[in-house]
């Protein structure tokens, strides 16, 4: 349970920050998460992940010691309901995952996110510089380094710890959304309950297993950091340099999650900058600056903070691996981000009409109205709910300043949504392949981040209407010594609406949620493929597979799903598969079929004679071959080249025994496959 140490380090840093900055300990866990992500990324870029880990844990221990030394018994006064809930729920999730041991199952987790986490934990290096045979990727490393921090004290990489790390990020952001409820702990618990239900609410009820808290992709972390940054800003108290820089750090961490994070961070920045400009200009402070100057300084420093990780990672990738991440085109066409935006804006304004763009625009509008993004339907319904929450916040505000704040937030968050939606439209038009674009692939996953963040921030504005004036009344009460000050009805109503919303969330999730297969109860049938691949790899290891081997995989009928699973499980290098003349550099999915024959029902069939494969093996420098699934063609045409004649393999695509792992011996241009010396027999 070393992940509890990871949680403890976050809690320790959060307490320290709360003490030093005199901020609520409800909001500081989020800042601690952001600091962890940025610290490990920075050190990782210089190849110092291991040192970063030891320094991190030593630093957090020292920070906790310092707070205890200074505060002694009063340390409990620092603890807020939000902070306690962050710690308690973090332990609960860690225990749940410890006992249930969920596994990764989704495609992107093996092509990008899970593999990234595994590389870091097994090599103590970022995937840009690691000497690992796992497929490297170019996405920013925020999530992988955070998982590295959480499971720093374990040997190797564990998927359940990876999921727990994600849960810690969510909980930290949700705790920040309860900061206004610090003085009313029951309200804080209710608010936290509502927040924890949000990820479960935001998955369309399509009958498949509920992936909330199980999925390990960047979308939900982006959602909560986007929402968390807004909640931190609106609910974190006085707008001084400590708070505003904290917001900047969270925005920087958001940028560091995924490229789309930059777009979200910029939108959050615009909303926050607008609020500072229109509602806080007179009251905000920034290192002694006031009014316009403080606004300018705060906004500029936030902007710099959020752009830095993006630019830094871009530079790092160029220096280390010569990858130009600017190219985001699909299908071999090159396209820079600026080009994409320019093309998009031209098409949008009608300067340069684009048929694909127009088609996608209609699709996106239709998706907004019809495609389910949450348990209760489409985005259009959700927009009504969000506007209703903001309306309540506006109507029940007792101060003009709050009303203006709600209005400004409403206008700018709505504009932000339009901007985000149009940005998504651009990516569907210019970045995605036409096949993915036609179906608006993963539409709900891509729009959800803005929705969740929006709902989180709206709830905080509603809480503000409920709690701010109430606190003032309380102080008036104590001053005037029981001169009966009646509470105003509007804050009470706002509070009632807030509670009702949380209750509605609970009932909604209870009613519509999937209680048969979710993060608390998975079906083992989900894992049959994973376990099978693990078993094959284990057999191959027993038959002599070594890390330095270069392996060619034969998996007839695979659509790349198993290829990526193998790449994820193996320590050896897996080469790309023979792709024929169309894909001379190789591919992730190819079922070998007889030259001149039809596809056998395989999705990705490639005509390939033994000689063609041998030439490819030689060119790719393969030293070994791994048989996962064979068929009649493999047995008939390639059997003679195997020293045991592929004894034990049958031609019905099923495994009934037979050796799996062979070394390649070259006899001129001909490859011969022999079992590895010293390896176990079949």
């Amino acid at each position: 349970m070393d992940i509890l140490l990871g949680l403890a380090s976050l809690a320790a840093l959060a307490l320290f920050l709360a003490y030093i900055c005199k901020k609520s300990a409800s909001v500081t866990p989020l800042v601690a998460v952001a600091i962890a992500m940025l610290w490990f990324t920075l050190m990782g870029c210089f190849g110092l992940l291991l040192a970063a880990g030891w320094l991190w844990y030593a630093g957090c221990a020292a920070a906790l010691g310092w707070v205890i030394f200074k505060q002694k018994k009063d340390i409990l006064k620092l603890v807020t309901p939000g902070f306690a809930l962050f710690c308690g729920l973090g332990v609960a999730f860690a225990l749940l995952f410890f006992f249930t041991r969920p596994m990764l199952t989704q495609w992107d987790e093996f092509t990008v996110w899970g593999t990234a986490g595994k590389v870091l934990s097994t090599t103590n290096q970022l995937y840009s510089t690691a000497r690992s045979n796992l497929f490297a990727n170019v996405a920013p490393p925020g999530l992988a380094v955070f998982s590295y921090m959480v499971q720093f004290f374990s040997f190797g990489f564990a998927e359940y710890k990876f999921m727990a790390a994600f849960a810690f990020i969510y909980l930290a952001a949700f705790a920040a959304a309860t900061a206004l409820w610090d003085k009313t702990r029951y309200g804080a618990i209710a608010a936290m309950g509502g927040m924890v239900l949000l990820p479960i609410l935001f998955q369309p009820a399509n009958g498949s297993m509920a992936m909330a808290y199980l999925g390990c992709m960047a979308d939900l972390p982006m959602a909560v950091l986007f929402g968390g940054a807004l909640c931190l800003y609106f609910g974190g108290g006085r707008k001084d340099e400590k708070l505003l820089l904290g917001v900047g750090l969270v925005l920087a961490a958001l940028t560091n999650l995924k490229d789309m994070g930059l777009a979200l961070a910029l939108l959050a920045f615009v909303i926050i900058a607008a609020d500072m400009l229109f509602c806080q200009r007179t009251s905000m402070r920034f290192f002694g600056l006031r009014k316009g100057k403080s606004w300018l300084a705060a906004a500029a420093s936030q902007l710099v903070l959020l752009v830095l990780p993006y630019a830094g990672w871009e530079l790092h990738m160029r220096l280390v691996s010569g990858v130009n991440r600017g190219n985001i085109g699909s299908g071999g066409q090159s396209l820079s981000r600026v080009d994409m935006l320019l093309n998009g804006v031209k098409a949008l304004l009608g300067i340069q009409p684009d048929a694909v763009f127009d088609k996608r625009a209609v699709q996106m509008l239709d998706a907004f109205l019809r495609r389910p993004v949450w348990l209760f339907g489409s985005g259009a319904v959700l927009l009504v709910v969000v506007v209703a929450i903001l309306n309540f916040a506006w109507v029940f505000s007792t101060q003009k300043r709050h009303k203006r704040q709600v209005l400004v937030f409403g206008i700018f968050s709505l504009l932000g949504f339009f901007a985000y939606y149009i940005f998504l439209l651009f990516t569907y038009t210019y970045v995605f392949s036409s096949l993915e674009g036609d179906s608006l692939a993963a539409y709900d996953r891509y729009v959800t981040p803005y929705w969740i963040g929006w709902v989180m921030a709206s709830m905080v504005l509603l809480a503000q209407a409920a709690l701010r004036p109430a606190a003032q009344l309380q102080s008036a009460k104590t001053q005037k010594k029981k001169t009966a000050v009646k509470p105003l009805w509007r804050p009470v109503a706002a509070r009632a609406v807030s509670l009702a919303l949380c209750a509605a969330l609970l009932f909604g999730v209870a009613l519509r949620g999937n209680w048969r297969a979710n993060f608390m109860q998975v079906s083992p049938s989900q894992y049959t493929n994973r376990l099978n691949v693990q078993q094959v790899v284990q057999t191959a290891r027993a038959q002599g597979m070594q890390q330095q081997d270069v392996v060619y995989l034969v998996s007839q009928g695979d659509n790349a799903g198993r290829f990526y699973l193998f790449a994820y499980e193996m320590e050896s290098k897996l080469t790309l598969l023979y792709g024929g003349e169309e894909k001379p550099n190789g591919t992730q999915a190819s079922s070998l079929i007889k030259p001149g024959s039809e596809h056998y029902g395989y999705a990705e069939a490639v005509q390939c004679s033994p000689q063609q494969l041998f030439a490819y093996l030689k060119e790719a420098g393969c030293t070994h071959i791994l048989l996962d699934v064979t068929d009649g063609y493999i047995i008939d045409a390639f059997g003679p080249y195997f020293s045991d004649g592929l004894a034990g393999w049958t031609n019905d695509n099923s495994y009934k025994g037979g050796h799996r792992y062979y070394a390649i011996q070259w006899q001129g241009e001909e490859a011969h496959f022999v079992p590895v010396e010293g390896g176990a027999a079949a």
């Binding site: 729920l89 609960a92 749940l96 006992f99 249930t100 009313t184 702990r185 029951y186 309200g187 804080a188 618990i189 209710a190 309950g193 009820a205 399509n206 009958g207 297993m209 009646k486 509470p487 105003l488 009805w489 009470v492 109503a493 509070r495 009632a496 509670l499 949380c502 209750a503 609970l506 209680w515 048969r516 297969a517 979710n518 608390m520 109860q521 079906s523 083992p524 049938s525 989900q526 049959t528 493929n529 376990l531 099978n532 009928g557 699934v629 019905d652 695509n653 099923s654 495994y655 009934k656």
Partner: protein
């Protein structure tokens, strides 16, 4: 002096806090009680139905059932075999009379990983064979690797077992049984889901009730 004051105020604060423990405690006890009651109820219900003959344990052969996207193969070692011909194979059963089903046992092995395994059910004869995503349970696994589905004593009119989502999977069926035996312990087995919910929900409910009461008090006092 100041110390005394602090102590005094501390005692004052702790008085309502003691009271504050009451409601969560009640909530947790009630929730645990309800949970155990529910377990016992379903145990008693199933047992009484077994004795009254409403629950019949019955093994099925493939030919007793309707098959879709499934091709039956020759028996092997006395066990029935079939192969799924596409990625949505279905084994269908519809008595259309309403039969109590507790647990469906599917003791079968496949020659390659099949992926998600689910059981759909319908609860009215009018529904016919219109299976929906709302009425669906996912497969669980015994330690020996055989599969089962828990329906919890529902009165069902139709069942549909989707053995795999891969296609081309050869299944060897040892046994397909409705109302497969459910050991006494299984009624009370502490699964992760009820435990996790028991840990969190009562606390949430208590907080919600307290917050509601406070709002009520404030509302009464409000202008």
């Amino acid at each position: 002096m100041s110390k005394k004051k602090k102590k005094h105020s501390g005692a004052k604060q702790s008085a309502p806090r003691e009271k504050a423990w009451k409601l969560p405690l009640i909530c947790y006890i009630v929730a645990l009680g309800l949970y155990l009651l529910g377990c016992t109820y379903s145990f008693v219900q199933d047992t009484s139905r077994i004795y009254s003959g409403a629950i019949v344990r019955q093994a099925y052969k493939l030919e007793d059932l309707a098959l879709e996207s499934i091709e039956q193969l020759a028996d092997e070692n006395g066990m029935q075999r079939f192969v799924s011909t596409d990625d949505d194979p279905k084994i269908l059963y519809y008595s259309l009379q309403g039969t109590y089903i507790t647990r469906v046992g599917f003791n079968a092995t496949s020659n390659k990983p099949g992926g998600e395994m689910v059981l759909y059910y319908t609860t009215s004869s009018a529904q016919g064979l219109k299976f929906t995503d709302r009425q669906k349970v996912w497969a669980q696994q015994y330690a020996d690797g055989s599969w089962y589905f828990d329906l919890g004593g529902k009165k069902v009119y139709g069942l549909r077992l989707d053995p795999d989502t891969t296609g081309g999977v050869v299944w060897t069926v040892k046994e397909l049984m409705f109302n497969a035996p459910k050991p006494f312990g299984a009624y009370y087995a502490p699964n992760a889901q009820p435990m996790f919910l028991l840990l969190l929900l009562p606390g949430l409910a208590a907080a919600g009730i307290q917050e509601g009461r406070r709002i009520w008090r404030l509302a009464k006092a409000a202008r």
